[in-house]
């Protein structure tokens, strides 16, 4: 209902179909590489390099077979990626939620610099900090462990999680918590039983973004893991071999990396946008 109200001076047909046309173009721009990736993952190597490119060909599933049933199946790497991404999401959203709440409700003169410091910890160049972290990790026996990688990914997810969660909590009226305090809640209960349920969609959105960043990380995963704990991006990079890029496997890997995220994304997309919105809470 809200959309139709935003009348403009443009003719009705433009108003109605203009956005669709723009989005159609965007969808094409977005999908062409993905579609090409998918097609190429079904082509035997030679037909991948045909010029002009072909759309009709005899598909093969060998790269997928190779990935899952071959000598070096990617399943463990996929599992690693999932474990690390979920672990990171839990840790960043967990800490980010209570931290974001604290930051939102904090009444302190230095709040602004503190908030900026928090986000600025995400700005450090990974390629440099990874070296001292490597020493620390080595000393703490965190190398080649899932938890080590989860902690590393938390470094770049937590600051953003705190900021996002803080913005959600900012939207929750303080009076709700006060009402709870008067109703007999402790501060923790007011947070836990009143504010927290209200930012659940926000937590979902934050988790998804954390998962995306963790899922995509390369440098930490490269330096801090060995074969047993490496993640999909690192596994994908190995397809660039000394004697040529294994394009078929690269494309199939792309599809395999994308699919779970898209499925997941479609399921939780509602949270993603409405979670980032939070308009409903404010009265």
């Amino acid at each position: 209902m809200s959309k139709a109200n935003q009348s403009t001076a443009l003719p009705k047909s433009v108003r109605r179909y203009g956005p669709l046309a723009v989005l159609g173009l965007v969808a094409v721009w977005t999908l062409v590489p993905l579609f090409w990736m998918f097609l190429s993952s079904l082509k035997i190597r030679r037909s991948m390099f045909e010029f002009p490119p072909t759309i009709i060909f005899e598909p093969t599933l060998r790269y997928y077979q190779d990935m899952f049933l071959g000598a070096n199946p990617v399943t463990p790497f996929l599992t690693n990626s999932v474990i690390v991404a979920l672990g990171t999401a839990v840790l960043s959203v967990g800490l980010g939620t209570i931290g974001g709440y604290g930051l939102s409700r904090l009444d302190l003169r230095g709040k602004k610099p503190l908030a900026f410091w928090i986000i600025s910890t995400r700005m450090a160049p990974i390629v440099v900090v990874v070296i001292p972290l490597f020493y620390i990790y080595n000393a703490l026996n965190l190398l080649n462990t899932h938890i080590g990688l989860i902690i590393a990914h938390t470094t770049f997810n937590l600051p953003f999680a705190i900021w996002l969660m803080r913005s959600f909590f900012d939207e929750v009226p303080v009076a709700l918590e006060e009402a709870a305090l008067i109703d007999g809640a402790t501060k923790w209960q007011a947070f836990r039983k009143v504010s927290l349920p209200l930012v659940l969609p926000g937590m979902g959105a934050t988790a998804i973004i954390a998962i995306v960043f963790s899922w995509n990380d390369f440098i930490f995963a490269l330096i801090f893991t060995n074969n047993a704990t490496q993640t999909m991006p690192v596994a994908a990079s190995q397809l660039v071999t000394q004697t040529g890029t294994l394009w078929g496997q690269v494309m199939a890997t792309g599809v395999v990396i994308l699919l779970p995220m898209v499925t997941f994304g479609v399921i939780v997309k509602r949270y993603l946008v409405s979670g980032l919105t939070m308009g409903a809470v404010k009265q």
Partner: protein, 389 residues
């Protein structure tokens, strides 16, 4: 039920050098309905929140019943509060909103809670809304739920923080009666904060007027209306506001009179009794005040046996039962409430008059020298800002 006492309560915000509440002392009797009224920013809400435990007093003590509650968390104070925006929990239905406090803070069984919730809902006539989410309710219904959440706890005190300001005028009047009814029925000590003096007048057993963090006066509504402690209270309580004029005591022909400071638009002769009683000497600066209903207006000065003053009619505002006249008196505008039959046209000149009995006088500091003289003088208890001085 309990008595609530504030003893020299001060609240400062350390960061901002703001004194929100300045040395307020106040006692609310068991079962009494006290309205805390004042303009926005006067510290009334902070005072209420100090009682609730949402703010901590910088100095002074708050006690509820026999307990000094300064260090206590809100949950340990056994009070209930109704917020301006109702503060209903959006993710809970009405039943859970009302029952939340009971579930949290008591060890009542589910059934007991349910009974209490039903009972409260019945009292508020919202039984059929119990399974709705707050979002689905109208403003008035939400307000009732907020009330329900307060009464179901059977607390020692109700605290209302401008609960009606988000409602439209009709609903506000209705809810005003409703709240008053429930409070009376339950007989729970209540503090009610509002910026609306009409609400204060109609609802409170007593009214406490605050300004600038300081308590100005506490008294029964009529008392505060008829015998305001100072210029601020006089101007704040009553609608339209009391007419006021700066003046100076002068002497003319051996008789004292008040001359309006600015332009001599008004001179008001004083009787000797008055100068004596209020120790007025020439040169004293006093403020004249007169309530609109005490100002009489006529087209000719002959209508009055006492002194009259010439003015021009600016605006005529018919209210139905009365007409409000806005009259230019020098550079100030005075308001008069006159019978509906009297309806001069704009720009016409008219004469106003007010009897000495109706006269209010305030000294240079704004303290009341004289209030209007009613046939049945009431005992007043004045509390001034400085407390005892």
């Amino acid at each position: 039920m309990a008595q609530i006492a504030l003893n020299h309560v001060t609240k400062e915000y350390s960061g901002a050098d703001i004194v929100a509440v300045d040395d307020v002392s106040l006692e609310i009797d068991d079962g009494e309905f006290l309205v805390l009224v004042g303009p926005s920013g006067c510290g009334k809400s902070t005072t209420l929140r100090t009682v609730a435990g949402l703010e901590t007093a910088t100095e002074g003590d708050v006690s509820i019943g026999s307990t000094r509650v300064n260090g206590l968390e809100p949950r340990d104070r056994d009070v209930a509060m109704v917020f301006q925006n109702y503060a209903l929990y959006p993710h809970m239905n009405v039943r859970h909103n009302i029952g939340f406090g009971l579930r949290l803070a008591t060890d009542m069984s589910k059934g007991e809670i349910e009974d209490r919730v039903e009972e409260a809902a019945g009292l508020l006539e919202i039984t059929d809304l119990l399974d709705q989410k707050p979002k689905a309710l109208s403003g008035g219904q939400q307000q009732r739920v907020a009330l329900g959440r307060a009464i179901v706890r059977e607390p020692q005190a109700f605290l209302f923080d401008e609960p009606l300001s988000n409602l439209d005028a009709r609903l506000r009047k209705q809810m005003r009666t409703e709240i008053a009814r429930i409070q009376e029925q339950l007989d729970v000590t209540s503090i009610y904060v509002t910026h609306d003096q009409e609400e204060a007048m109609t609802m409170g057993d007593r009214i406490a007027v605050m300004n600038d963090g300081k308590l100005q006066q506490v008294g029964r509504p009529n008392e505060v209306y008829n015998d305001p402690a100072n210029r601020f209270v006089a101007g704040f309580i009553g609608s339209p506001s009391m007419n006021m004029l700066e003046s100076e005591v002068a002497e003319s022909d051996g008789n004292a009179e008040l001359q309006s400071a600015e332009d001599g638009a008004l001179t008001y002769a004083l009787s000797a009794e008055m100068t004596d009683e209020y120790a007025l000497t020439p040169g004293d600066r006093v403020t004249i005040g007169a309530r609109p209903e005490d100002v009489r207006v006529a087209v000719s000065p002959d209508a009055f046996d006492s002194q009259s003053h010439e003015t021009t009619v600016d605006v005529v505002e018919p209210l139905g039962s009365d007409n409000l006249l806005y009259l230019s008196l020098g550079e100030t505008t005075w308001t008069a409430r006159v019978p509906p039959s009297f309806e001069p046209s704009t720009g016409e000149s008219a004469y106003l008059s007010f009897p000495p009995e109706a006269l209010h006088l305030f000294d240079e500091r704004g303290e009341t020298l004289k209030s209007r003289d009613l046939t049945d003088p009431l005992t007043t208890s004045r509390v001034t800002a400085a407390g005892t001085d």
